[in-house]
Structures are given as structure tokens and as C-alpha cells.
Symmetry: C2
Subunit: 593 residues, 2 copies
């Protein structure tokens, strides 16, 4: 037996008991005739006392040979500490050690196993097993486990069925890029790993399993950015005989339940905002509504006054940063402008209007606008003395996107994005299709299975090209604190409408049949109305913990080159493996090119 208790269990009530503990050596303090070891496991830390009077001298000698992260097992008596530590739950007691065994030695770890480690990201990933011993990582993994269980309990408790869908499926080239898996038994053919269980969950609805969910890994072979992993986890759901309203209520209920159970937080009903409104008020379809600074359009007021930059612009729009007039020197504003001019954002310039605390107004466009005019601006923003306006102009979509970045940056600088505050928002009524000028075709705003709103079905089947641009979908996103937690839609369940949608998206009839014939076939055998949603599970974990990085919620994440640096994958395979799969590598040539 390795332990009677774990290292977080012992209290005053155990004083006098003989116990056996196993764990890792956190710290050693040696006073010669006495020695203390902090012994750590997943559950906590317990102080061990090695005392020449109780333990033998030999035992003390042996204990002296251990270093950090050695694995030891001890037996001893629980005693009350003379100097108590009220920072840890076991801080009232210590163990007077009478037996001692080294279970395994340890080399000196390459970084400290402390809450704040001195290890850089790369080192922590290579020695992930040491990193996981640290409380912040360990706790995030435990949070994730509990969040998954609570999700399952809640959904199954409300008649959902968790159904596993296959991982070896079929490659469909539109959308993101698939990871593919060569089939040995079917030469020249490949499986694909699912980007989502989309078609399978719709098939399950046709199969009558009217409330499906699954917490499931999904795969996308896309170039990686921070916070994007080639494999990621979704809470994937689908329901039959439901309207958008039913789905929003069901998953608002789930979200509230999770915040209550995990964080003991009662959430009010989630506000809803349609896509157009989100774009005009925040320049984003995932607005962070923890703070204001909403967009105010000045196009009418600002144009035609001789300032050519504004006169040429499709839109003039700005935000009012409360109390910031005195915070920004000319130099600061110059810096902020430069930050906005970086290629990632790419503004040409930025106009500012300071409404000083003394009531005076100072702007970077004083040459073109007199005080009266600027006052009409300030009034439109409902600005108070001390506030500062920051104004951009240009083509509508682009300018909104830029101003969104500025708003979020100002929110950060002003400390308005408090991570202990949670502001959920449903964004609804997304456009069905997005016209792409470059490729001269429509893209699905959500995905090709999304249904137009009931009122738009007729227009979609019979309308002209311009009509298509205006179609709205029963599509919705859940946004918390400016992060898209999930999204979904009501699906098409009618063959003719699905065929029309594929055509609009540029599929030939053959392509549509080849890739999604099974789904359209299923629609002919009594497909019920249905819809669903998927939550990004990694992201939900991180948002609920008030952090932006998903990495520490993933036990073994990959780096930005898609590599697992701990196991060193991907790696080369043997020639026999190529042969069995009827494949040849062209990589050598490509690399030399």
C-alpha cells in the first residue's frame, strides 16, 4: 500500500494517527538534527518532519539524499505543528516520519514546479509532464473535466442522448482543409477526419434521435495562430422539431447552469442583438458588451465641410473614450495612431477631439471644423467634459472593423474588460450568404446546411442575384465578453432547398451529389425540421476562467507548426507503411525546390 491518505487530507482531527503518504518532494529544509520536507501530490502539500529523536539517524541520512521532485513514501504520526501555516488546509499538522522509502529519483527539473514557473513556453511543452504538476495547469485540467461532466449531466438530464459519430469519414473539399487518412484496404482512397459531426448529427435527426449531443474532437488542417489547434473539442448539439427560439432557450439554460455549478454565478437572461445592429454599434459580430464606447456615426455631420479625408469617405464613425482627454498627450495620441497604422489594422489616420475638463475643445481637425460644429459632434456622442473622441473614416466594413480594434484596445487600456465579469450576448439573424468579390461567388456565412428564414425561402428559390445578398438565416452565435463561444443554425431539411443552396455556393450537381448525396437522400425519407449549435469547449473553459489562452486547458497541445514537441510528432514513417498505403512521398523534391 502506497498511502492511507493523500497529501491534502490531514487535519487536526487526525493528530495521533499513524499514516502513510506518497508524493513528490516540493522543498527540503535541513537544520541538521531536524529536517522538513514539503510533500506534494495532486491534492495538496503536507509537511514532513524528520527528527533525530524520533526517526533514526540513518533515516535522517537517507532523507537527506533526496532532491526536488523525488518520489517518496513515508509512514509516521500526525502531530500538531508548533508554528502553524494558515495558507494551506494541512497547515495545522505535520508528520513525524518513522519510515521512509525513495520510490523513484528525479533529475533536477529544467524549471521550477511552482505556481509562477521560470520555464518558457517551449520548455514547458517539451516537459509537459512537469508542467502538469504545477497548480495552474493541473487546476485547469480538473476544471475542464468537471465542466464536461456538468455539461453531460445537464443535457442528458433534459433528454439529450450522447451519440458518438465516426472519426473516419469522407473528405469534402469546401470549407476548411481536411486532415486525410489513407485507407490500406481501399487503395487510392482516403478517409477524412471530421471538421465537425455536422452531417452525421443531421442524419441522427432524420433517424429520430431528436436531442443529440456529443463532446467531441474535431480537426482542421489550417495554418495555426495562437489560440488555434489542429484538433479541438466541441460541445456539439442538434435538435429536431425546434425553432431558433427553442435552441436559444435550451443552450442559454445550459450556459446558465454551467456558470452556476462551476462558478456559483447567477446569470440574467441573455440579451439578443441582430447581426446588423452588432455591426453598426460595435463593428463586430462578437461585441464585448462589458463596456460601452459604442460607435457613433458622424458621416452626415462631418462631410461637406471641406475636410477632404472625410469628404471622400463612405463613413465617418468614432467612439467616445470617457475621461481620457487629459490622459492622452499629443505624443500618446501619435503612438496610438501608429498602433492603429500597423498592417494588422491598417488605418491611414485617426482624428481626435478632446473635450477638456474646463469645457474647451481641442481637435486634430480644428482647421476644418469650428467649435459649434465640434459641439454637435460631442452632443451626438453624449460626451462630457474630460472625454475624448477618436474618429475613423473610410469604406464602411473596413472602417468598422478598424474601429472595433480601437474600441477593444481602449477598453483594455481603461481597465473596462474585467475578466471576473461575464456578459453573454446572442447575436442573431446573420446573413445567409456572403458575396465574395475576389472569387465572384457566394460563400455560406455559417455553413451550406443553414436554412434561410422561413419568410425568405420563397425569395431564395425564385429570387434574382441581388435578392440572394439580402437573405437572412436562422443563424445565431453565443458571444461572451467578446469571445464567440458557439454558433449554430436551423438547417435545411428539404431536398430542393438544399440543392438550390449548393448551386448558389457554386457546387455543380455532380459535386453536390458526390459529397452530400447521402444527406439529400435522407431528406427524402421523412426528415424533420431541425437545427443545432456547437460550443467551442476549449474556449468556453478559457472564457469561464477569465483567460485568453486555451493551451493550458489542453493536456497536450501542439505548437504553431502543428508539432507535439514532447513526443516529437509528426515524424517519418517506414517505407513499408508507404507501400501498404499505395503512396509515395514527393517531399524530398519539394523541400529542395
Amino acid at each position: 500500500m502506497y498511502r492511507t491518505h493523500n497529501c491534502g487530507a490531514l487535519r487536526m482531527e487526525h493528530v495521533g494517527q499513524e499514516v502513510t503518504l506518497s508524493g513528490w518532494v516540493q522543498t527540503v529544509r535541513d537544520k541538521g538534527f531536524m529536517m522538513w520536507i514539503d510533500l506534494r501530490d495532486r491534492y495538496g502539500v503536507t509537511q514532513l518532519l524528520f527528527n533525530e529523536e524520533v526517526s533514526s539517524k540513518e533515516l535522517l541520512e537517507a532523507a537527506r539524499s533526496v532532491g526536488r521532485e523525488f518520489v517518496i513514501k513515508i509512514t509516521g504520526k500526525v502531530i500538531e505543528r508548533s508554528s502553524k501555516n494558515d495558507k494551506i488546509p494541512t497547515g495545522n499538522i505535520e508528520i513525524e516520519v518513522s519510515q521512509f522509502e525513495i520510490l523513484n529519483a528525479s533529475q533536477t527539473p529544467p524549471f521550477t514546479i511552482e505556481d509562477e514557473s521560470d520555464g518558457g513556453d517551449d520548455l514547458r511543452m517539451k516537459y509537459r509532464y512537469l508542467d502538469i504538476r504545477r497548480n495552474p495547469v493541473k487546476e485547469k485540467l480538473m476544471f475542464r473535466s468537471k465542466l464536461a461532466l456538468e455539461t453531460r449531466k445537464h443535457l442528458i438530464g433534459t433528454d439529450f442522448v450522447e451519440i458518438e459519430t465516426p472519426f473516419l469519414i469522407k473528405s469534402t473539399p469546401e470549407g476548411a482543409r481536411d486532415f486525410v487518412v489513407p485507407s490500406r484496404m481501399n487503395p487510392g482512397q482516403f478517409y477524412a477526419l471530421p471538421q465537425s459531426p455536422q452531417t452525421f448529427k443531421q442524419i441522427l435527426m432524420v433517424g429520430g434521435m431528436d436531442k443529440y449531443f456529443q463532446i467531441v474532437k474535431c480537426f482542421r488542417d489550417e495554418d495555426l495562430r495562437a489560440d488555434r489547434q489542429p484538433e479541438f473539442t466541441q460541445i456539439d448539439c442538434e435538435m429536431a422539431f425546434v425553432t431558433q427560439e427553442d435552441i436559444l432557450n435550451t443552450f442559454e439554460g445550459l450556459t446558465k447552469h454551467l456558470f452556476k455549478t462551476m462558478l456559483d454565478m447567477d446569470m440574467e437572461d441573455f440579451p439578443r442583438m441582430d447581426y446588423d445592429e452588432a455591426m453598426s454599434r460595435y463593428g463586430s459580430d462578437k461585441p464585448d458588451i462589458r463596456f460601452g464606447m459604442e460607435f457613433v456615426e458622424l458621416t452626415e455631420e462631418a462631410k461637406g465641410k471641406g475636410f477632404p479625408v472625410f469628404d471622400d469617405a463612405e463613413m465617418v464613425v468614432g467612439i467616445c473614450a470617457p475621461g481620457q482627454a487629459s490622459e492622452y498627450s499629443n505624443k500618446d495620441i501619435k503612438k496610438l495612431t501608429e498602433w492603429m497604422q500597423r498592417p494588422q489594422i491598417g488605418v491611414k489616420g485617426m482624428i481626435n477631439v478632446k473635450y477638456n475638463a474646463d469645457g474647451t475643445i481641442k481637435s486634430s481637425v480644428d482647421k476644418f471644423y469650428d467649435e459649434a460644429q465640434l459641439k454637435t459632434w460631442l452632443a451626438k456622442f453624449d460626451a462630457k467634459p474630460g472625454d475624448m473622441l477618436l474618429i475613423l473614416c473610410g469604406e464602411t466594413d473596413k472602417t468598422r472593423k478598424q474601429l472595433n480594434e480601437l474600441r477593444l484596445e481602449m477598453g483594455n487600456r481603461m481597465g473596462l474588460r474585467d475578466n471576473s465579469v461575464f456578459k453573454p450576448l446572442w447575436v442573431v439573424d446573420f446573413p445567409l450568404l456572403e458575396w465574395d468579390e475576389d472569387s465572384n461567388r457566394f460563400h455560406a456565412m455559417h455553413h451550406p446546411f443553414t436554412s434561410p428564414k422561413k419568410a425568405d425561402v420563397e425569395r431564395m428559390l425564385n429570387g434574382d442575384h441581388e435578392t440572394m445578398k439580402a437573405l437572412r438565416a436562422d443563424a445565431y452565435d453565443l458571444v461572451i465578453n467578446g469571445v464567440e463561444i458557439g454558433g449554430g443554425s436551423i438547417r435545411i431539411h428539404d431536398r430542393a432547398l438544399q440543392e438550390k443552396n449548393f448551386k448558389l455556393l457554386g457546387f455543380t450537381d455532380e459535386e453536390a451529389e458526390d459529397q452530400f448525396g447521402f444527406l439529400m437522400g435522407a431528406f427524402e425519407y421523412g426528415a424533420p425540421p431541425h437545427g443545432g449549435i456547437a460550443f467551442g469547449f476549449d474556449r468556453l473553459c478559457s472564457v469561464m476562467n477569465g483567460t485568453h489562452s486555451i493551451r493550458d486547458f489542453i493536456a497536450f497541445p501542439k505548437n504553431n507548426q502543428g508539432r507535439d514537441v514532447m513526443i516529437d510528432a509528426p515524424s517519418k514513417i517506414h517505407d513499408e507503411q508507404y507501400d501498404e498505403l499505395y503512396l509515395k512521398s514527393t517531399a524530398a523534391e519539394k523541400v529542395v525546390e
Copy 2:
């Protein structure tokens, strides 16, 4: 709104209420002025009444247009049925329909959507969405969902943490064959899909997460037999600071909990049997102990009496089939012998001794053995009048295997393998290594990470070749009703011992380092003693339901060619996909060969 209730909800207490239901048309009975439709959804069936007096004539006409599996929505009043149906929970009521809408039409399904369908396996797989509407399939999927939740609740309730391990890992050519995934970002390199999370769960133990589990998909690219799928699900577990005893107790507890919760069945403590005993008593490491007919060895008694077949045999061994003497004519015995002579089993011959009800003895070896001698045999079997001995002989391992098949077949014929009875058994003390004459090397009986028993460590590190054959492992299987539900072992946690094991298994130092260097590296940073187990989840589902097929517990299984016939995968991929992955197909050439 599509429904106020589901089709299994309404009872006498709802009589008088107006309700809305949606579902599928199960059956239509038309009496002209009145018409009944059985409306079905996941929850049950409700009878709808279309009555000219209440519904309009037009509504009756409209309802008349529907066929089987149409999706309809109705509103009406719950009324008491005149002729009640006590076979279904909604059998006391019906709905007098006042509003009616066809939500979707259906073609005539290719097989009947009934508990006993007329659809063959291939058709059912192609139209899996129709198959899933059938109660037997639907209920199996719901059972699986609940079993997974109960597993999770129980394990997390006892401090386990569910941790997701990666799917894109590294190919290791020993063991079963990997599915591999070409990496676009790392030309010429491949990920592999995990055959199990083995190394990751051990790494988690090194990481201090001392109670890990995961219900997880695993992948093996092996030629498929019935009941084997390229992707399958495991309850995968690992614990640190445990002995074999701790693991057996923990997972015996889980198993009992699942039988109690799912089947309301209290199980007694599981018996344990060591591997050698299982082989000598049942000729199998997964004995079905629901019935007796244990092996009795006759080698001593049977040899040296002038019967050359026995004289030449390494072993003579048989079973006693109670009460079967009068059941088997000479013709029946001939047939049974032929069954045993099929290549799958391959005996040369089979000896029988009938202990007739009248006390006389008749055997197929009367020429060589007199009654007194045969009586000593019967005594050894503890045979009663009416019993029949069936005896095989030959090389020990092969003969035991053959007799195991015979025993199971006799158990089937005699109705002794009752699927409502559950007899679990721990088989323990497996050999560590298996010597393979053909390849002239050792194989790991469990896997390369399995630890020898503590008493055998020294012998393993320093013993000779013959010693290695006798090493025993802390390895164990859970068997229920002759089906292996799961297995596991205590692992090696010491670099030197792991290196020695790899060497015995024929790895060069380079191969060991290349494939498992990260794990051996981890052992140098304070690896705790640990061990684990994995249950086959698909199989657990099927055994608990008393069936042998796992297919209907899998929503979308693949056929024996590894194909999903519904979506038609695997399939060809585009040339651009080959190019992006630095691959060329050689399949065309191979196919022509």
C-alpha cells in the same frame, strides 16, 4: 412551436387538454368516415383519431394523403379511448385531431421500421437513418449514452479526472498497424491515430494526475472480422501509487456500480483465477464460468494402453457433458466431430465415452480400454449415469484451445450460456513475455510497458533466456461470460527496466529512443509507481445487453471492408490535396498488378 408533448407522454390525466404533437407516421388505418394514425417519435407512439364529425372533411382528405414515415404535426384534444391498448403507456388515450400539417413527405422506406425489420444488414447500414428509428437500435444507442454518463459520474465521483489526450500522435510500428495522417505543415512527416492513449496516460501519471480516465476513440488498421471495427471506444484509465490489488478493487467497484445502475443487478465479489489455472481448467484466458464442464486431464490414465493416438499425444484431456449420453446418436457424434474438424478448429479426431442411464458404458475406444479402465476415467470426471465424455488429445496448447471451442459449443447446445446471467472473473498473473518460435523473438503478452511482478524484477534484469519465459506480470483481464471486457497492468516506471524490456522485445537502442524516448525521459523526473486498465466500451455495452454484436451500439459502424456505406467513405481525394501533402498515389499500378 412543433409540440407541447412528445409521443410517449400523454396519459388519462391529460384527457380534455389540447395538445400539439409532431412525429412520424407509423401506421394508417382508414375506415372512411374515421381514420387512425399511429404517430411515433423517440419517446413512444400516440394514436391520432381523424373523425369527420370533429375534424373537417378537408382535414380528413389531407390526412389521407400521408404514407408511412411522413413527418406530420397535429393539434387536437386528448380523449379517452373506447378500446384501450395496455401494451403501450399511451394506450388509454387518443388525440381527436383538429389541425393537421405535413412537415415533410417520405418515400416508401426500403425496409419496415419495426422491432423486427425485414431489412438485411447491408440495406440497414446504407439507410442507417431509417434503421436508427427502430426501437432495438434506438434503445441500444440510448443505453450506451447512459452507460457512458454513469461511468463518468462514478469515476469523477471517486476523484478521477477525465483528460483528453491527443488524436494526432506518433506512429510506432510495433503492435497493431497504425492509421497515419500526412502532415501538410511538416512535409514527408505523418501523425498516427492512437491505438490507445497508453503513453499519454503514463505521462499524466508522471505529471501527478494520479487518477486519470477517458472514454475515448481508438484506432487500429487491422483486417476486420465481425465484431471488430477500425475505430472503437475504450474506457481508458490509469492510477498512480497503486498496486494491482487497488486497481482490481477500483474497477470491480465500477463494474458493480454499472450493473446496479443500469440493470438493477447486485453482483457478488468477482472471483479471481490465475492465467495458468484458467488455461488448464478451461483452455482459455477468458473462460465462460456460467457453466461447468471443466477440463479433466486423462494423460496418465489413457497413455500406455496400446491406443497409438493417445500414446503419441502430449496431452489427453476431455469434458463431461451431463445428461448428453442419450442425446447423441452415432450420427450426431459424427456431425459434432466434423464440426470440430473444420479448419477453424482442426482436430483430427474426437473420442467419446457414453455412461448410459442404465449404467452401461459405451465408447469409441472400447477396443483399447476395458470397462474397468473406462470407469476410472468416469470417476475422474465425477460422471453420473447419462453423462457423456468428449475427449481430445495432442499438443497441450493446441488441444486446450480446441477443447475450449468444444466446451463453449456444448454449453450453447445445452442452453447453459444464459445471457441474463452475468459471471465476471478476474484472470491474473499473465506471463510477461511470449516466445514466438516463428519470428524467434519475444512478444509482450500485454504490451511493452507492463511490469514484471516485483519478485521477478531481479530475474528479469539479470536472468538468462529461459528465465525470461517464466516471468510473470502484474497483468489482469476482466472477463464476463467468456468475453474479455478489459485488461491492464502495473507499468514499468524505471528507465533501466523499461530499456531491458525493449531489448528483450527486439528493439535496438535507437528504435527504443526514437519511439519512446520521451517516456523513458519522463521516468527520470520522478515517475511514480502506476498502473491502469482499459475496458472495451462497445463490448461492455453488448455484454450487458446479452448480445454478441457490437454493431448496433455504434451509431455509424463500418463494414468488413472498413467502408461507411451510407456516406460512401473512404473516397478519392483531389490532386491538389495530394500535392499539398507531398504525396503521390501508386494505387493505379498496384491495382493492375
